[in-house]
Amino acid sequence: MSIPAQSAPSGQPGAAGRPDARIHNIGYRRYEGARLGASYARRSLFVHSLRGSFGIGRTARSKVLPFGLFAIMAVPAVIMVAVASTTGLDELPVEYTSYALFMQPIVGLYLALAAPQMVSLDLRFKTIPLYFSRPIDRFDYVAAKCAALAAALFLFAGVPLTIAYAGGLLAKLGFVDQTTAFGRGLVATAVFAALHAVLGLLIASFTPRRGFGVAAVIGALTIPYFAVTAVQAVAEEQGSAGAVGWLGLFSPGSLLDGLQSKFLGGTSGFPEELVPSDAAGLGYLLVTAALIVGSYLLLMRRYRKAGL
């Protein structure tokens, strides 16, 4: 710290012949405003990520896909309501609890776009150290990102549910039935959103390249699902209905499907609309919880080193 303060040492004339080099006070000021602290930074990061996942605050081009997918997501809800009210059905054709699973490809695509956008770009452009130079640490970062993506998914799948619910009430489908079913649907959607958010972020956080992230998320969601569906079909033909339920544990999609059919009174997409047994049901709960918690812990581990 050898800053020549007010006046240079007079004994040594500078090489450029300016003997009295000095630093002037040109009016830099200390920051004296309110310091908003970690919780404000966390909230900002959450809001920023949530907006970014729908393309708000980004270019018009990056709004096209999220809102396009959201429109596709909402269309069946509107059609369902229209069909139910014109043909006089006493319930909606697709249940609230399995709506997100019914639209799984669309939600999967949205997740595959949103998750890498949320974390891979920070890695690619090396903005992570900038975040950590603020009063937040990696726990705050991971928590904010997970919460933002889970909220985005919850909105993405929950708003169409709300549309269907409002339409169902207008079509006089029975207030009590509709409300309990809608409540269960929201629970199923919340679990769906939490599980997919942590899985998507975990996968995306390992690559700074968006394309890889998108491919990896789609692959991780679909390959196990195809494998499980194929093997379940075989097991069902062999007459081992018990195995069908246990097999559902091996992919995120079938896991949530079994969970909602077992505990939330939905209909599963398994062969013969089979509902897992009680023991398997416990397995579904445990595996879901373990996946969510485990992925979250791995994510925190992932950010122990802020670089790549």
Binding site: L109, G211, V214, A215, A230, V234, A235, E237, A243
Partner: protein
């Protein structure tokens, strides 16, 4: 039409380090499933058709096609190193055809061998099911490679579009909207499997055999032609 050096470079790009592991995971998964199903339920034709048709042909073959097809050219265009290849005294047509041949050979090796082995594990080629699906996988490999190589020259997000086509269009829309099935390489390949397999095998396709063959040839030919065209007009300078 074929250049050794380009082929060698492409093989190294496709089979180097991490990529070969990704290429190997799916065949390994298929073999594990095959062994599990066989030990679980014994030899059974329906089970074999289910596993080979709805897992291997529906998701393994297109995924390997996406990785090999786009991986043969897209990374080079993406990071700009294609310039060094283009600046050599080689017709650009040769570059595309060589890369296509490499992609096809990689896809065929990584799909047909596990398909045949899994088929024999599942039911010992009864009703010719293993053979039929191997033929289907080989034909589908050629078409997928051409289409995804084209995607690699057209778009920077080739992998994403490839996956959307392979998994969402073919599998999911194909299940919901019957019309989507006629525009699907998987169904064309299934048509071939249907005619190759024995009469007792329960393989069905929505496309008739002649139409399937014509569409397969057309997709491969047009894909290759347009990929050549794209690479011929590719400008070397970058604007970003």
């Amino acid at each position: 039409m074929y250049n050794d050096t380009v082929a060698r470079l492409t093989y190294r790009a496709l089979l180097g380090r991490r990529r070969v592991l990704i290429l190997l995971t799916l065949p390994v998964l298929l073999l594990i499933i095959a062994v599990a199903v066989r030990s679980f339920s014994g030899a059974d034709d329906r089970a074999a058709t289910d596993v080979l048709g709805s897992f291997a042909l529906a998701s393994m073959v297109p995924l390997i096609g996406v990785i090999a097809g786009t991986g043969a050219i897209a990374p080079e265009i993406d990071d700009g190193s294609i310039v060094y290849l283009l600046s050599k005294p080689l017709p650009r047509r040769t570059i595309i055809t060589t890369k296509l041949l490499v992609a096809i050979s990689v896809t065929i090796v990584f799909t047909t061998i596990p398909m045949l082995v899994a088929g024999y594990i599942l039911n010992g080629n009864s009703q010719g099911i293993a053979g039929a699906f191997t033929v289907a996988a080989a034909v589908a490999s050629i078409a997928y490679s051409a289409v995804f190589l084209l995607l690699g020259t057209v778009s920077r997000n080739a992998v994403v579009f490839g996956l959307v086509y392979a998994l969402i269009w073919e599998s999911l829309f194909g299940n919901l909207v019957p019309g989507a099935r006629t525009l699907s390489i998987q169904q064309w390949a299934l048509a071939l499997a249907e005619s190759t397999a024995g009469s007792g095998a329960d393989i069905t396709s929505d496309v008739a055999l002649p139409a399937a063959v014509i569409l397969l040839v057309a997709a491969t030919g047009l894909g290759t032609w347009y990929a050549i065209r794209r690479l011929t007009v590719l400008t070397v300078a970058h604007d970003d």
